[in-house]
Structures are given as structure tokens and as C-alpha cells.
Amino acid sequence: MEANSKLIFESDDFEVVGTKGLDAEKISKPSITFWSDVWRRFRANKLSVVGLIILVLVVLMVCFGPMISGKDYQFIDYNMKNIKPNGTYWFGTDEMGRDIFTRVCYGGRISIIIGIACTVVSFIIGSALGGIAGYLGGVVDDFLMRVIEIIGSIPYLVLIVILSFVLGRSMFALVFAMTITAWTGTARMVRGQVMQLKQQDFVAAATALGASPARIIVKHLLPNTLGIIIVNLTLSIPSFIFSESFLSYIGLGVQPPETSWGALASLYQTRLMFDPYQLFFPCLMIVLTVLSFHLIGDGLTDALDPKLRK
């Protein structure tokens, strides 16, 4: 009772019981960089990890398969034609007695190389032009967007047929024909992203600090668009593989003796009635590759989106 009756307090009556000094500013969590955080969230997505494993296996098989099987993909042996899959010929042989496993590996190299080459080319052109349009805006933006609309309005199959007449049917012509229309999508996407980013205060802050446009692009705009670009890269590789397969299937793509998964599918469909396994393997590889890229892309979308951070 007596203790409570004291109503006037002096500063001596109090003592500090809480925290003192800078402890409040301490962060106990270890520092994580952006990319390690992305990897952590990517790993959390089981399906994407499965996709990544499938992709690694496919790539390993395509790279080292011919060495393991020890056969030549062009070697013709009429005594060995249309053999069903067995211990020696893992995927069987075709009607000219060639080992399908080795051919699928070689075809995969071409398919994947074309997929990556097209993606790289279309992303370099697309991000450069999209970035310029988005950053400069105004007349430059209007002009580039009209160009993109015009290119986008030409059916790409028509373009490819014309180009294959002009340039001949080489791998270069194929990459050229597929990228000439595909970069427009990238350009649109990068333009939108850059336009959104350049309104952000950190770009204004850099300008206020005296940063040159080149510095703003390299240090601020590009690193911030990288996430969305990577997601789209992983999603566009399979679409190029798909297009290549389709073009090879209808005879506009890779020409013999070179081969690709699409070309193999086209060749082996003639034997579908008698030896369905011949068509099955190249198709399986296309499906596995495309599926794995999609799964990875899906996981990356979530992992790279800062709004979905947990």
C-alpha cells in the first residue's frame, strides 16, 4: 500500500530494463543475395526440380549417347533393318538398319542447338530494340512499335517458305527464318518492363545523382528486367524446338543427311502401322524436353517474382 501511494516520480526512480543502443538494428538472418533467394524458392517447387532433372538427363543423353552406344548415326546396314528395341539397339533400328538411339541423340543435338540459337538471337534483337523503344519513348517508340506490328502481321509460315527459297535449306536459313518473326514478342515484353521501370523513383534518384543514360540502362534497367527475360527464355526454347520439329516434319526444316527430332518423326511415321516404336522415341524426346522446359519456366516465374516472396 505504501509503495503505491507515491505519486510523484523522479528520474532516479526509473531504470532501463529494455534494449539499449543499436541492438534494434541488428538482423539475425544471414544475408541472402537475390539469386540465392531465387534458387531457394525454385528448389521448393518439386515439379520444377523434376523438370530440371529431366532436362539434365536429356542433355546428357544427347551429348554422350552416341559415345555410349558406339554406333554411327549414318551407318546403313540392310541386314539389320526394322529391328525392335533390344540389348544392342536400345531404341531399335529403322528401315535402313540405322541405330535409332544414336540418330535420336544426333537429332536432339540439332533440335536443342536450333532452339537455343533461335532464342539467343531473338532475345538479343528483341531486348535491344524493346529496351531502346521503352527507354527513349516518343517518336522512336512509335516507329519501332509500327515495325513490330507489321512484322507480326505476316504469317510466319509464308515468310519461312519464301526465305527457304531465297536462302536455301540450311540451318542458318532456318534460324534466320524463325527469329525474324519471334523477336517481336520479346521486344514488346522488354519495352513494357522498361517503361514501367523508368517511372520508378530509383531511376529518378540515379538521374539526380548525375548518372548517364548508359549507366541507368546497364546498372538499373537491365538487372531488373533480367528476371522476366530469363523466364521467357526458358519458355521460348521449347517453342522453338517445337517449331523446328514442325518445320522439319513438313519438310521445310533440317535436310538429310542431317537430322533432328522433327525430321526423324517425319521419316518414321511411314512405318507407324508396322513399327510404331520408331515414331515413339523421337516424339518422346520432344515431349520430355518441351515439358521439362515448361516446368522449369513455371518454377522460375514464381521464384523470380518478388511479389510471391514468402
Binding site: L22, S31, D201, A204, A208, L209
Partner: protein, 322 residues
């Protein structure tokens, strides 16, 4: 009073945005003021009155439509190249939104060091030391330098923004509503930091805000903006006790008083209606449509921004009439 050195002088500054065919948004429409070295000029006004545009135009982030900005005797609004870069060393800005003002892909150390890198002030170990020193200035520790902005709270981010502005040792800082995105306990922290830095480094501030009590606390002089125009400017005590312009009068009566009895007794002047659109504004006094004293003269003639008392400027026909 006349001994004060003018650091920044803004003369008849206009910033118009074209928003469509025959539609011009007059965000800042002919304002003039001076900022003395070492003082804090507060700019207040309701949302959309052009405070931020005014601050960013002074900084050169928006090109001015017309008018002059004179910094330390040099006309800065038409500078190019190297001279412009030199100006950026002397004047800096702190942004309103601490979330969009820091690049999410850069570490705090790199964000703070950006100005140092651009102007090539320090390299190597000296740069690191300088960044650590700046972190200590804003009550953070060197271990924060390798972290990313997303690991910090709003108040911490705002302090990082302040450190970035301080890194190149400017003389003048535009504070564009640096506290409006923060909660009250953090606001005091930021304000006290700004006041401390001003004392230590003799900084000059242009402090843009809509929190009237906070502006009174930090500013030496306060300017009130309404729809792209400066309507009144006076030393802060004078403005808060003796407002001349009807808009300022109404604004001041809206400040809550931390005493329930006085607050209950207080007469509040309510302003009717909404703020008119700044797109193609009508001639005459901008405030006429909402002013309770408005006459025909107010609707036709634009009032001049004139001296109505010592250091006290206002733009209203009524003053001195009765």
C-alpha cells in the same frame, strides 16, 4: 535579415504537361521563391497541388516549361553535360516512397555508393570506409552494407535514401514528402535525423509535405501551394499564427490541437467542394471557386503574389482592402 545568402532562387517557374489535344495540365504555374542558405523552406498544400512537381523541377528531373532556377548564382535549368553533372553534386533529393526509391537488385552499400561512383569521389578502401561512415550517420552498422533493400523496413529504407543523398555531400536537399509513407513513430526518427544533419553539415532543405504540424516543426519559412500557384509564404511562426490568405486560414484551422477542450471550442473553417482540375484552369484566382470571400474581381483577375508584411507574401485581392 538581409544578410542571409540566397542559395536557390526560383523565378516564375512553370511546368506544364500536355495531357491530350488542347489539354494542358498546369502542374506548376508561375511560382517564385527564394531559399536562403542553411534554412528549411517548407512547402505545403493538398494532394495534386504541384508540390512534388515543383520539387522535381527544381532538381532538374523534369525540364521546366519556362522560368529560371538559379542555384548559387548559376542558372541550372538549362545546363548540359558536365555542368549539369556538377550541379547534381550540390543538390540532392529524398523521395516519398521508400519502396520504389531503392533498386531491389543492388546492395545497400552499392545504393549508397552510387553517387560516389558516378562522381568518382572515392575508390577502393576509401569508398568502403565512406559508406560505413554514412551508415553510422543514419544509425545503421557496417554489416548492413551487403544486404538488399527488401531486408529492411520502411523507416530503414528511408534512412538509406537519405544516406544516398548525403554520400556526395550536397549543399541542398529536396525532401519530397520523406515522411508521408511512414508511420508516426518512424516519422519522428526521420525528422530528427534530418534536423541533426542540418545542424552538423549546414544543409539547406526544401521540405515538401502535407503534414502541417511536421512542417511547422522543421521549417524556418513555409510556402502554401494551391493548384500550381504559391498562395502564401511567410516565416513559419508568422504563417501559423497570422495567416492572410483564406486558403491558408482554412488549412491552419484544420490542424488538430492536442488538447481536447481547446479542440472542442475551436472553430473550423470548412472548404466546400473539391479541388478543381489543374487541366486548362480558368483565369482569375485559382481558389475563387471554393473561397468564401470570393468576389467578381477574384474570378476575373489573377491576384499578384505580393509582400503583405515583413517577409510575408500572399496572393489575394482581399488583403489590405478592408
Amino acid at each position: 535579415m538581409s544578410e542571409k545568402k540566397v542559395l536557390v532562387e526560383v523565378k516564375d517557374l512553370k511546368k506544364h504537361f500536355k495531357v491530350g489535344k488542347n489539354a494542358i495540365l498546369k502542374a506548376v504555374d508561375g511560382i517564385s521563391f527564394q531559399i536562403y542558405k542553411g534554412e528549411t523552406l517548407g512547402i505545403v498544400g493538398e494532394s495534386g497541388c504541384g508540390k512534388t512537381t515543383c520539387g522535381k523541377t527544381v532538381m532538374g528531373l523534369y525540364p521546366a516549361t519556362s522560368g529560371d532556377i538559379i542555384f548559387d548564382g548559376i542558372k541550372v535549368n538549362e545546363l548540359k553535360g558536365k555542368e549539369k553533372k556538377d550541379f547534381t553534386r550540390k543538390a540532392q533529393i529524398i523521395f516519398q516512397d521508400p519502396y520504389s526509391s531503392l533498386d531491389p537488385r543492388m546492395t545497400v552499400g552499392d545504393i549508397i555508393g552510387e553517387g560516389i561512383d558516378i562522381h568518382g569521389l572515392y575508390t577502393g578502401q576509401a569508398r568502403t570506409d565512406k559508406i560505413y561512415e554514412l551508415l553510422r550517420t543514419i544509425n545503421m552498422t557496417s554489416e548492413h552494407a551487403n544486404r538488399f533493400p527488401h531486408e529492411f523496413s520502411g523507416g530503414q529504407r528511408q534512412r538509406i535514401g537519405i544516406a544516398r543523398a548525403l554520400a556526395i555531400e550536397p549543399e541542398f536537399i529536396v525532401c519530397d514528402e520523406p515522411i508521408s509513407a511512414l508511420d508516426v513513430s518512424i516519422q519522428a526518427q526521420i525528422i530528427n535525423l534530418l534536423i541533426r544533419l542540418q545542424k552538423e553539415r549546414g544543409l539547406t532543405y526544401m521540405f515538401i509535405a502535407h503534414d502541417l504540424s511536421m512542417v511547422k516543426h522543421i521549417s524556418d519559412r513555409v510556402g502554401v501551394m494551391y493548384l500550381g500557384k504559391m498562395v502564401e509564404m511567410a516565416p513559419s511562426y508568422e504563417l501559423y499564427t497570422n495567416p492572410k490568405h483564406p486558403y491558408t486560414e482554412a488549412l491552419m484551422s484544420s490542424i488538430p490541437i492536442p488538447d481536447p477542450e481547446t479542440e472542442r471550442e475551436k472553430k473550423r473553417i470548412n472548404i466546400e467542394g473539391e479541388i478543381p482540375s489543374p487541366i486548362n484552369p480558368k483565369p482569375g484566382c485559382r481558389f475563387a471557386s471554393r473561397c468564401r470571400y470570393a468576389t467578381d474581381r477574384c474570378r476575373q483577375e489573377t491576384p499578384e503574389f505580393r509582400e503583405v508584411g515583413p517577409e510575408h507574401f500572399a496572393a489575394c485581392h482581399r488583403i489590405g482592402e478592408e
